[in-house]
Symmetry: C2
Subunit: 330 residues, 2 copies
């Protein structure tokens, strides 16, 4: 049996925690379950002149900032593009994807890190930390006493890998969790899952609203002035999805008007915000620089384990994990 | 059996969550276990002209900002002063306490609230939130990737009610907990309890150091430049005790030098810090205005339950709970 080749797409400028090197792939092969076909890893920078040529002989490509215009013309062995992140908005529209090639994301590997981060963020908003930080800047000792968080309600937009991690965090704190997705129905860690229209009507029930949605034509600008005006007064707001989900000026206005008690966002549009952008100075807003989901100790190993599992599935003709629905774009 | 009288010490200027009214005391009596002697509550402001006169007929006084100079001269039925808070530094020295009167605090009732608050603060320091907040002010998108918190070490100075709540929080996150107190030995939720001298030598083991100590002549200024210099580089620092435990200028210097990754303090000296005090603007420092321990939903009921339990113990001649050791001053 000849080895299946997998191209690891390296590129400069990426944070070191996402970079895959031969030590990672050797360790992943050593961890892989018995029965996996022989696999050989090849490493290329996206700017390598022979990138397309090498890719032709590979069954799979793994990476994040992949050269989609180069991939557009590739035919041959390629069957799988395994992305090392969750959101695919940077690759849409998907007309560049060659026929017969599946695009898979890594949304399920962010769980433990985002769950712990969510515990922190849910508690920070409940405890009025954004208020205290803004008061501190103004040299104000402005007490707000809060009880414990159990029994308060989180409404979580998106019930995928990220949304489930947030829901697990909220349940671990004794919160009530309402998920929002296209198709209502039961889901693990959610007390209820409702549709978009019902969510509009019930936004006022939530003590905190969390966005974990993918960015698509349908979700862009989802959190706008009307959205914030339907939220419970002094509720908290969180964005773990993409900056483009939020009309930034409307979020700032809601914070300035104390319509919200505070917000914690891990994503902006663009990232980073430009120098002097009003979002930097919005009151009661904590910005973290897109670090909520990525555990440096486990990120690359988890992506490679997912990749090898998917290659095994390909070879055996089984369904792949985390396949992107190109029509829905997530 | 004549009713035992208890004086509730009311005073203006206190946060509403600590104010006890007849509705609270009625509810507490309704909750009290059978067998408690009849109890009658009397309410007086500390400035009431008949305060001392009324107090003479009471077995107990409950309050926080109690008029110790007035109490100094009281003789009669008084046997118990039940404070509604934990720290007693505002009442030291204790030469005003009439003979035969026990002074008890309420340090054990802060548990659930401080435990949840501690989960938040431990995660905030681990996740570098103080760094992100300071970077945001400078309009910097400064990533720091962190793994999950399990396996990191918290050193907790003080193993009383507050220290135990912090230790429970740390254990719930999978952390290693080292307690520090006068007398080493086992304690619930602590992996080890060591003495002060050993703590000096082992400060560098801690990823986060938490102070929950009472403020006494021995503990004042405990966290000084030498203390911070022995901590692990880029460790986190928390103060839940009293502002006077810390040499504020030394904390600021350690933060400015990035000796610490950040600090979260709920207490300052004085409270609030004066306008223009450097502590307001220290980098990577989050100040919360002395709100970490007090749950508005449960505070007064919990104090009254403790008070009634102690009155029952007095009448039956059993040992009281939470008695202050006047020599140690906590």
């Amino acid at each position: 049996m000849t080895a299946q080749r997998v191209l690891v797409c390296t590129s400069d400028g990426q944070s070191a925690i996402f970079r895959m090197d031969p030590e990672h792939t050797r360790a992943a092969l050593a961890r892989a379950p018995a029965g996996l076909p022989p696999i050989e890893f090849v490493f290329r920078d996206i700017d390598a002149p022979d990138f397309a040529e090498v890719l032709q002989d590979c069954i799979a490509l793994v990476g994040w900032m992949i050269p989609n215009e180069t991939i557009r013309t590739v035919r041959g062995a390629l069957r799988l593009i395994q992305l090392s992140g969750a959101g695919v908005d940077h690759l849409a529209p998907f007309d560049w994807l060659p026929p017969g090639v599946s695009l898979c994301n890594a949304s399920t590997i962010h769980g433990p890190k985002l769950q712990e981060w969510s515990v922190m963020v849910l508690l920070m908003l409940h405890a009025q930390i954004p208020h205290f930080i803004t008061a501190q800047r103004a040299q104000l000792w402005s007490k707000r006493h809060t009880s414990t968080i159990a029994g308060t309600t989180a409404m979580i937009f998106g019930t995928g890998g990220l949304g489930q991690a947030v829901a697990r965090a909220a349940k671990s704190l004794g919160m009530i969790t309402i998920g929002v997705r296209r198709t209502p129905g039961p889901a693990t860690s959610f007390d209820a899952v409702i549709g978009q229209e019902e969510a509009e009507l019930r936004l006022g029930e939530a003590d905190v609203v969390v966005l974990t949605l993918p960015l698509t034509a349908q979700t862009r600008g989802r959190a706008d002035a009307a959205f914030f005006s339907r939220m419970k007064p002094e509720a908290g707001f969180v964005n773990f999805g993409r900056g483009g989900l939020v009309i930034e000026a409307d979020l700032i206005a809601a914070l300035e008007a104390r319509r919200l008690c505070g917000a914690v966002i891990d994503v902006t549009d663009p990232e980073p915000p430009p120098a002097g952008a009003p979002i930097w100075n919005a009151p009661r807003l904590v910005i973290t620089p897109h670090v909520s989901c990525d555990d440096p100790a486990t990120y690359v190993p988890d992506v490679l384990d997912l990749l090898l599992d998917n290659v095994g599935r390909l070879v055996e003709g089984r369904a792949l994990r985390n396949v992107i629905d190109l029509a829905r774009a997530y």
